[in-house]
């Protein structure tokens, strides 16, 4: 109603695009790389996947002359190289939860869903970008961790060669394992939509469930335990099969858990209010 000054000139947009899955992928890549905490968490996961095996190998190599025959017989050089994966899986799973729950806690999700009201492309893009980043970053990290730790162990001639039977499967399998763990965390975050709840769900299903199986009658425990996410996934990273499922069967079971969680997340994302 007032006409004190001319209205500011709103810049016009010459050419407007439309929402495509590819566009949303690029957008999610920008989102992932533009939050400092995410970047640092990934760098920390990358670094510890290399550093922890190196430190573990150095400790074993130094201690080796003092170890008794029994401990020496039990020693698995490949386990040293995977020591970093134990920590990385927690970091990657928690970061997977955060990638989606941070959008809810900050309100960003409303902007995201206003830009892409069909919603599902955002979930697919988040999952794809995060999985690609985890795979691209941590597979090389596991390889480097292996090379460094085995080089240290080779001083005592207790190393294992990359060409030994099963070793490439274990090493590259660790990268795959971490990728699927990341997707599992992301899906749980999308289902729970809350950081604390998402982390609790992830940690509970991954790390609390296995010891909880011990309260079952032992025959049930023996039958069910190989199928919990952690044990199933770790089957891929065992050189010698113990109580676990066969390596790729176990990994397949972990993939099924992740796929089921993503499917539930997608179903809920379509239905719920943002």
């Amino acid at each position: 109603m007032s006409s004190l000054a001319p209205a500011p000139r709103i810049p016009r947009l010459a050419r407007t695009g439309r929402v495509t899955q590819l566009h949303v992928l690029v957008s999610e890549w920008t989102k992932l790389r533009s939050v400092r905490s995410t970047t640092w968490s990934l760098v920390a996961a990358f670094g510890s996947t290399i550093a922890i095996p190196a430190i573990a190998a150095a400790v074993v190599a130094n201690h080796w002359p003092h170890m008794n025959a029994h401990d020496r017989a039990d020693f698995q050089p490949l386990d040293v190289s995977l020591a970093g994966v134990q920590l990385a899986q927690l970091a990657i799973g928690v970061l997977g939860v955060l990638v989606i729950t941070a959008e809810y806690s900050t309100g960003m999700i409303r902007a995201s869903m206003t830009a892409v009201p069909r919603r599902l492309p955002v979930l697919w893009a988040k999952a794809a970008v995060y999985a690609a980043v985890v795979a691209a970053l941590l597979t090389p990290a596991v390889v480097v961790g292996f090379v460094v730790s085995q080089a240290i162990l080779s001083r005592r001639h207790i190393d294992i060669a990359f060409t030994a039977v099963g070793v490439p499967r274990v090493i590259f399998g660790a990268g795959l394992y971490l990728t699927v763990i990341g997707l599992f965390g992301l899906a749980l975050g999308a289902i729970v939509r809350n950081t604390a709840g998402g982390i609790a769900a992830f940690a509970g299903l991954m790390f609390v469930l296995p010891p909880l199986m011990n309260v079952l009658p032992s025959s049930w425990n023996a039958a069910a335990s190989p199928y919990v996410p952690l044990q199933a996934g770790e089957a891929l990273m065992r050189l010698h099969r113990g109580d676990q499922l066969a390596p790729w069967t176990g990994f397949g079971v972990l993939c099924l858990y992740a796929a089921a969680a993503i499917a539930l997340a997608a179903f809920l994302l379509r239905r719920r209010d943002v």
């Binding site: 109603m1 007032s2 004190l4 000054a5 001319p6 209205a7 500011p8 000139r9 709103i10 810049p11 016009r12 947009l13 407007t16 695009g17 439309r18 929402v19 495509t20 566009h23 949303v24 690029v26 957008s27 999610e28 920008t30 989102k31 533009s34 939050v35 400092r36 905490s37 941070a102 959008e103 900050t106 309100g107 960003m108 999700i109 409303r110 902007a111 995201s112 869903m113 206003t114 830009a115 892409v116 009201p117 069909r118 239905r271 209010d273 943002v274």
Partner: protein
């Protein structure tokens, strides 16, 4: 009809928000209750109601963030969810912050632009337009409320939308920012866009809006122009001062017309317009010293229209309605 011309300038006639029997329940609480309205292009439409009256919920329903319990709402004839280039069709500023606090303003806008393949140049252009140039690389979590609102405006205009939906845009802005916002809204409407702006401040809407949609407790109270809104709420009351007060009083009194004593010797005529009183006086040769139509202020109009609604409300349901209107 100036807005028809303006609408044609952008090349489309069908630029409207249309709500039909829109209803939203959250559990047992009904936030929006059978709301039907149309928002036309080319004018600023104010969406007015006390805090907690369902304005933000209605806007979320328009944007497809919430799903209506009953009814539906369309933008330019389609459900928002079915639009191919949503940011080009609707730009929104939501009341609650919708920005990741760890991301810079530039990257926030860039990520949203990229969903539509909108170039980086556009992002920079809007950062300059809303005056955030100096802080664009800072984390949005460090922004003041006013800077956050400016970032929200940049987000809303990113896709050069034909419809703009702004929830309480004046919140947190300094006087200069509010002035800028008013002109921005007028400018957007003058370009033929549909502009839908919510506020709980009547005074702000009086300066900004042409049309008004007023709701209370989720229900439609009025859907009208600002002028009509005031006229409807103002009773026909005229203040008259005349040296022949008693003669005039006798002439005016009729069924449906009452005359009472006003302040300082004036009389107050209820039920006639100022021109009717003036004509009667002229016909009988009576001198008139003052003849003032008593028009309700927008605040009074708003209060009288929403009072009935508010009386049903329990204290918890509507937060400080009086404070909301008076400011």
């Amino acid at each position: 009809m100036p807005f028809r011309f303006a609408a044609d300038r952008l090349g489309t006639v069908d630029r409207v928000i249309e709500a039909r029997n829109l209803t939203k329940d959250y559990g047992s609480k009904r936030a929006v209750d059978d709301l039907s309205f149309t928002v036309e292009p080319g004018v600023v439409t104010g969406f007015l109601g006390p805090n907690g009256s369902g304005k933000s919920t209605t806007m979320r329903l328009i944007l497809g963030l919430d799903r209506p319990t009953v009814g539906d709402v369309s933008v330019n004839g389609r459900r928002y969810r079915d639009v191919a280039a949503p940011l080009n069709e609707v730009g929104a500023l939501l009341e609650a912050r919708s920005v990741h606090t760890g991301r810079s303003a530039y990257n926030h806008l860039l990520a949203l632009a990229q969903t539509h393949g909108i170039p980086k140049r556009r992002v920079q252009e809007l950062i300059d337009f809303v005056g955030l140039h100096d802080v664009a690389r800072r984390r949005a979590g460090q922004f003041s409320l006013g800077m956050g609102q400016r970032l929200g405006i940049a987000t809303a205009l990113l896709g050069d939308p034909s419809t703009v939906i702004l929830d309480e845009p004046a919140n947190g802005l300094d006087p200069e920012g509010i002035h800028w916002m008013r002109h921005l809204l007028k400018g957007l409407a003058d370009e033929g866009r549909t502009v839908f702006v919510s506020s709980h401040l009547m005074s702000e809407m009086a300066l900004t809006a042409d049309q008004l949609i007023v709701i209370g407790r989720g229900r439609l109270i009025a859907d009208t122009s600002v002028e009509e809104f005031v006229a409807r709420a103002s009773a026909k009351v005229v203040l008259v001062r005349s040296p022949e007060q008693e003669r005039l009083r006798a002439l005016l009194v009729a069924p449906g017309v009452t005359v009472s004593s006003g302040d300082r010797g004036a009389i107050e005529v209820h039920g006639l317009t100022a021109s009717e009183v003036g004509d009667t006086a002229a016909a009988h040769g009576i001198a008139i010293h003052e003849l003032t139509p008593q028009q309700a202020s927008l605040e009074e109009a708003f209060m009288s229209l929403t009072r009935a609604e508010l009386e049903f409300a329990t204290l918890g349901d509507v937060e400080q309605p009086a404070a909301g209107v008076a400011a």
